[in-house]
Amino acid sequence: MRLVDRHGRRREHPSFTAPDHAVLAELHRAMVIGRRFNQQASTLARQGRLAVYPSSMGQEAAQVGGVLALSEQDWLFPSYRDSVAMVTHGVDPVKTLTLFRGDWHSGYNPHHYRCAPQCTPLATNASHAVGLTYAARRKGRDVAALVLMGDGATSEGDAHEAYNFAAVWNTPVVFLVQNNHWAISVPVHRQSIAPTLAHKAVGYGMRGYNVDGNDAAAVHSVVSHALAEARAGGGPAIVEALTYRIDPHTNSDAPQRYRDSAEVEYWAERDPLARLETLLRNEQIVDDGLLGIYERDAERVATAVRDRMAVEDKLDPDSLFTDVYAAIPPALEQQRRELAEELRQV
């Protein structure tokens, strides 16, 4: 499914239409910011200011297109790769990086942003989304959820249990699978021999969609449709977005060991930003002035991230003890005193 080809030309589709001009412009703006954020975070990782950064360079359309399809009250369940989705969802960019900075496991209050903590154990947060939307329905609230997972993650048993629960309970969850063709060094054809990953939906009685993940308009359109259906009781869905991880798995990966740079170039020519920009310009939806503003917005986000991260956080070792239980148990209280004493002596 594709609505904008790699040359920025519109493509007709029998059942899907592209979002309106305002949404197209917003998709592009979010991608410009997302890309700049990816670059900035990768730089910080190179400088050692982040312990690690899994870049989503090249996957901006899939993340932005999915997230902007959400309604105000909906939840996002991201994985480690999904910083751009989170920033687009409204999470403070610096708090998005807290995990990678090594400051804490999650830098934000999930309730505040309606965004679950970034999930590292693959596919394990997918069932959380099913449970959360089930609970919301029980409480009479119209809440849907978008789960972000990778192609590799669809091989995990947890993914399949979540798909089945969502389908059987008919909860409004869309599983957006970013098929970026690699799970670290393992190509997707070693994960699955199904015709597409979207086919996995069939066995669970769900709808499955396959979309050009570098076409933000198409991703937005399909995820919006899937969310609307799910909300209306039509059941959950898997949306497979075909995209590509341009950068290494993380800054400490060695992609030359397992993939050809020609493949990277092939995908770089299918860049999600370039094609939407072409369309927006050709159809005079945005002009140089507006594009300049997007660039400046992106630069402002990057500068803020850089400046705020330049200030070394003072982490209080006492925070190790404060949120393990609702109240600190006596034995832990004693370890807390002992550590304080240890630190006084040095």
């Binding site: 050692g48 312990a51 690690v52 899994p54 994985s79 480690y80 790769r81 995990l99 990678f100 900075r101 090594g102 400051d103 804490w104 496991h105 590292t120 154990p121 693959l122 590799g152 993650a153 091989s155 995990e156 048993g157 947890d158 799970a183 670290i184 060094s185 393992v186 070693r190 994960q191 699955s192 798995h249 993380t250 400490s252 990966d253 060695a254 060991r257 397992y258 956080d313 982490l315 070792p317 925070s319 190790l320 003890f321 393990v324 034995a331 832990l332 370890q335 550590l339 240890e342 630190l343």
Partner: protein, 362 residues
């Protein structure tokens, strides 16, 4: 994410490039410095070369050579049939290994990190550990599960767990962990040759630790604990990543006039009571150290056994030094969690030396 860790002091690429070929070249020239990562790599190469039933698989163990490069060169040397990437599913990895072992293969599988082995827990506990027993000996399972474990590398969450107690509490599994490169080689070879399932815990922060050793090497049988450093005042009991730390603590204690014996447990389960008990009967004092949280940790078992077996020889209670009883903290706080030399020395200071002095001179 396989957040392959930020570069440790000696450099991630050290382990990455320390291939089996490099190790053999070094061995040819006499005792050479070998990292633990290279020793493990060489053990896999040698085991695959020697026994056609041995095969290696898991996540990213093929062309990439594993995120720590422990399987480096296996696929290019021996081909896809002997070392390959599987679908990304730990339960499936261990489950299929069980099936392979039922039919005569000797699979060596890798869990990418400690915490990513948890999806396989069902297979490990309900099948791997029990098959021999359920079938009254008819179906042994010679499976090795390699797990890089423990912290100290600045890994983000789920990359630093010390999960040994989950396994040692499961009868039917052998749980081993090397503390030196020589042991890493020898114990992995032994684990692969062993007819019991072995959870082979690799102290990831020690992948870059070096030792002068000729490979191949055979050290003591893995089920035996060894005295790494003789001493007469107190027994310091350690394993895996803490062996090096314990030896360092012993050095420092020596400078302060205390003679510390260090025991490296090596095989955590089944337990070698004789070696540790003999040591503690000699010294009269014992401290157990591990990275894992102390409560319900492996040290509790060691302390209990020593109390049962050495009660009348003990001058002080057996003490435990370990991680705090908190979930593994983020990189910037892990130094406060992990036991280091200072905490070990402080524990040794608490072994009631004064009362002995008073008695001795009273």
């Amino acid at each position: 994410m396989a957040h392959t860790p930020p570069t440790p002091p000696t450099g991630t690429e050290t382990a990455a490039t320390a291939s089996g070929a490099a190790a053999s070249a070094a061995a040819a020239q006499g005792a050479a410095e070998v990292t633990m990562g290279a020793a493990l790599n060489r053990a896999l190469h040698d085991a695959v070369a020697e026994d056609p039933d041995v095969l290696v698989y898991g996540e990213d163990v093929g062309p990439l050579g594993g995120v720590f490069r422990v399987t480096d060169g296996l696929t290019s040397t021996f081909g896809e049939e002997r070392c390959f990437d599987s679908p990304l599913a730990e339960s499936g990895i261990v489950g299929t290994a069980i099936g392979m072992a039922m039919y005569g293969l000797r699979p060596v599988v890798e869990m990418q990190f400690d915490a990513f082995a948890y999806p396989a827990f069902e297979q490990v506990v309900s099948h791997l550990a029990k098959m021999r027993n359920r079938t009254r000996g008819a179906v042994p399972l010679p499976v090795v599960i390699r797990v890089p474990y423990g912290g100290g590398i600045g890994g983000v969450e789920h990359h630093s767990d010390s999960s040994e107690a989950y396994y040692t509490h499961t009868p039917g599994l052998r749980v081993v962990t090397p503390g030196t490169p020589a042991d890493a080689y020898s114990m992995l070879r032994e684990a692969i040759a062993c007819d019991d399932p072995v959870v082979f815990l690799e102290p990831k922060r020690r992948y870059w630790s070096r030792q002068s050793v000729d490979l191949p090497v055979r050290t003591e049988p893995m089920e035996r604990s060894v005295v790494r450093r003789p001493g007469s005042d107190v027994t310091l009991i350690a394993y895996g990543p803490m062996v090096e730390t314990a030896l360092e603590a012993a050095e420092q204690a020596a400078a302060e006039g205390r003679d510390v014996e260090v025991v490296d447990l090596r095989q955590l389960a089944p337990f070698d009571d004789a070696t540790v008990a003999a040591s503690v009967r000699r010294t009269g004092r014992a401290v157990v150290v591990h990275e894992a949280s102390v409560f319900g940790g492996y040290g509790a078992e060691v302390a209990a056994r020593l109390t049962e077996q050495c009660f009348h020889y003990l001058e002080a209670p057996v003490l435990r030094v370990g991680g705090l009883d908190v979930p593994y903290p983020p990189p910037k706080l892990e130094e406060h969690h992990l036991p280091g030399v200072d905490r070990i020395l402080a524990a040794m200071d608490r072994l009631q030396w004064e009362s002995e002095w008073v008695e001795g001179h009273g």
